[in-house]
Amino acid sequence: MADDDEKTSSGVSRREFLKISGIAAAVPLVAPQMVEAAGEKVPVYGPGKAPMSFTINGKRYSAQLEPRVTLLDALRDQFDLTGSKRVCDRAECGACTVLLNNKPVYACTVLAIEAQHQPITTIESLSQGGKLHPIQAAFVQHDAQQCGFCTPGFVMACKSFLDQHPHATEEQIRYHLNGNLCRCGTYKGIREVIAQMSGTKGA
C-alpha cells in the first residue's frame, strides 16, 4: 500500500477533486493574523484555511486546511490515506488509531494543525513491497476480523505496544488493546493473534 509519490494538494485525487469543486473554492486562504500577547506577536490561524505540512510515514504532505479539521479527516479526505477508519469519531472505538511521535493516539481527536512537525505513522506504512507485516499476516491467519473496519486500529495499537514492550506477555497486550473495540466480536481471533505475537516480538 506504500505510495512512493509525494502527495500534495496540487496532485488531484478523487477526494480532493470533490473538495476543490465543492466548498474549497468558497473558503479563501488567509495569512495568519499576528496578535500581540505578552509583548510578542503570536500567529493566529483560521477560521479559514491555513497552509499545513505533515510528515506521514516518512513522506512530506502539505495541504490548505481549516484549524477545525481533525488529523483523521486530513489523512482520509486530503491525502487518500483511508486505512485509518472513522467510526465513533469520539475517542472511544480505536478504529482511527495512528502513531503520533511513535505513540498510539486516536486520530479523530487530534487536530491536524497540532499534528504538524511530529512524525505520523499510519497503517499504510506497515506492508512493504506487497508483503504484509507479521501482525497483519497474523490477523489473516487467525481470521481475526469480520467486517474489518476495526482491524487497522487493532493492528496499529498492537504494533506500537509490541514495539515499546517487545517482551510483553499475552495479558499485557490484551490489556493495552482495551482502547480498541470490535463490534463484530472477533476478539477470539484477536486473542490468538496476541498469543502468537507475544512469542515473536511483533516485528
Binding site: V35, A38, V42, Y45, R68, D89, K103, Y106, C108, N178
Partner: protein, 333 residues
Amino acid sequence: MRAFEYTSPTTRQQAVELLAGSWDQSAVLAGGTDLLSLMKDDVVAPKRVVNIKDIRELHGVRFGPRGMQIGALTSLGELADHPLVRQHYPAFGDAVVEAASQQIRNMATLGGNICQRPRCWYFRSGFGLTPKTPEGKSLVEEGDNRYHAILGNDGAALFVSPSSIVPAMIAYGARIRIAGPKGAREVALEKFFVIPRTESEREHDLRPNEIVTDVFLPPPAAGRYAHYEVRQKESFDWPLVLAAVALQMNGNTVRSAKVVMGYVAPVPWVSEEAAQALVGKTVTEQTAQAAGEAAVSQAKPLSRNRYKVQLARVAVKRAILQAAQGKAEGGAA
C-alpha cells in the same frame, strides 16, 4: 465542529493574554480528548482555541524536598510510566494507569484531567450543568439518573465529578497552581471544585482566562494509601464509584485519615464522617465497615441510583482495608 481560530503560544503569559474573559469566546486546548468531543457535539463552540502544548515549561515531572511538581501538560501516559510516581505515590499511580486507554493516556494531560467537564448525559446533550424541563423541573430527577449524584445533591447540580484521578490526588494533599492575568495563584485541589448553584456558574474555581499550570504533591508522608474503583468493565470504563484513602498511623491505630469518594457528588467528596470513624481505631473489617457506613450516612439517592449507596459503602471499606494492608488495587463490579 464549528470553525474557530487557532493559536499556539509558547509562554504562559501569552496564553493567558490570548484567552478571552468569557467562556464562549475562547477555550484552552491541552490533550483535546475532552474538548474536541465537546466541540463536535456543539456543547461548546469557542471562537478561538488556544493550544497550550507548545509551552515547554508546563511539561514534565520534578521531584525534590517539596514533593513532586508535575507540569499540567504532562500526559497521563508519561505519568503512568514514571518510576517515581509509582514509587512515592502508588495510589495516584494506580489511578493514572487505570484511567482510559493507551491512546487517550498518550494525549490526555493531568491538567486536562482535572479540568475535564462532567460526563452527565444531559450536560453532554446541551442541557447544561443544571438541566431543567420546560416546566422548570430537574431533568435529572425526572429522567434517567442512574449515574448521578447521591451526595451533595441538595441543589440543582446533580452530575458527578468526572475525574478518576483527582480523588487520589486529594488524598495525597495535592495543590495546583493557576496562571491568570494577575499572575499565579495556588489552591488546594480539594477547594478547586465547587458545586454550581446556577447555570452561570462552573464546577471549577477557574476563570475563562486562567490555565492550570502545575500540580504539587507534598512529600509522601509515612502513611498508607489506596485507590479502589468499582466499574462494570475491567478496563477502559468510567468508574461507577471510587474511593481513595490516606491513613496516617500511630503504631497500629489511625492518627488521621482522609477518605475521598469519586462519582458520588458534583465534586470529589471528602468524607469527614468516614475519617472521624477511623481516628483512634485500629483498622479491622469492622472499623472499615463502620467507616463505609459513615461515608454514606448523609446519602440521598435519586430515583434510579440507590445501588450507588451500597457501592460507595463497599468501595470505602475495601480502600481502607487495602490501604491498611499496604497494597492498592482496583476492581470490577
